[in-house]
Amino acid sequence: MIKRKNTKNKKKQSNFAKLSIFQNNKFKFKKSCPLSVKGAPIVDYKNIKLLKKYISENGKILPSRITNISQKKQRELSLSIKRARNLALI
């Protein structure tokens, strides 16, 4: 009896491992873009508080794969960050 239980457990683990490799998206917690939700703040070069969230300590723009921002909003962000840099706001 004990042996059987062990084998069952092993099978379950192996299955789960396979799933996690091939069906990554289903099981990973996928965040949605924080800026394209309803009621999200408008991306603007004057809104420094918002822009400061999306730059690193050295002032570099963070990649969208870390911040989970949609492609469209990322383009807007990078443009407005560059504008704010030009005015020495960031």
């Binding site: 809104n47 002032g59 030009n86 005015l87 020495a88 706001l89």
Partner: protein, 117 residues
């Protein structure tokens, strides 16, 4: 007619009287050429994030202009000569956001946070 947002960065060691003169000077240029100034905002003295021409702080003035593109050329021509200015920038927008002033609000919020600490 297009909508533009125009910001000027003025040197720090200039008196507030002179700042008013500057704003008048540039708003006159716009109005002479059939332009319309919808709103002017004075953001006040802000810290620059990096030094520009040995200045650590600067005054910011923000215009919202409804005008033709030629006027912007005329404005920037005058501003590029002006020695009191450090930077200027114009951005073409589709809609004006007249209600929010990020910089006046930021001051109030910042002060509150400091008081808590």
């Amino acid at each position: 007619m297009n909508l533009y947002e125009h910001t000027i960065v003025v040197k720090q060691d200039i008196s507030p009287g002179q700042i008013e003169k500057l704003t008048e000077k540039y708003s006159k240029i716009v109005e002479k050429n059939d332009g319309n100034i919808v709103q002017t905002q004075n953001w006040g003295l802000l810290n620059l994030s990096y030094i520009i021409k040995k200045n650590k702080k600067a005054n910011y003035i923000h215009f919202k202009i409804k005008a033709n593109g030629k006027i912007i050329k005329e404005l920037e021509k005058n501003e590029s000569i002006d020695q009191n200015l450090l930077r200027y920038m114009t951005v073409k927008v589709k809609k004006f956001d007249l209600e929010t002033n990020y910089f006046s609000k930021n001051d109030e919020i910042g002060k509150k946070e400091y008081n808590k600490n």
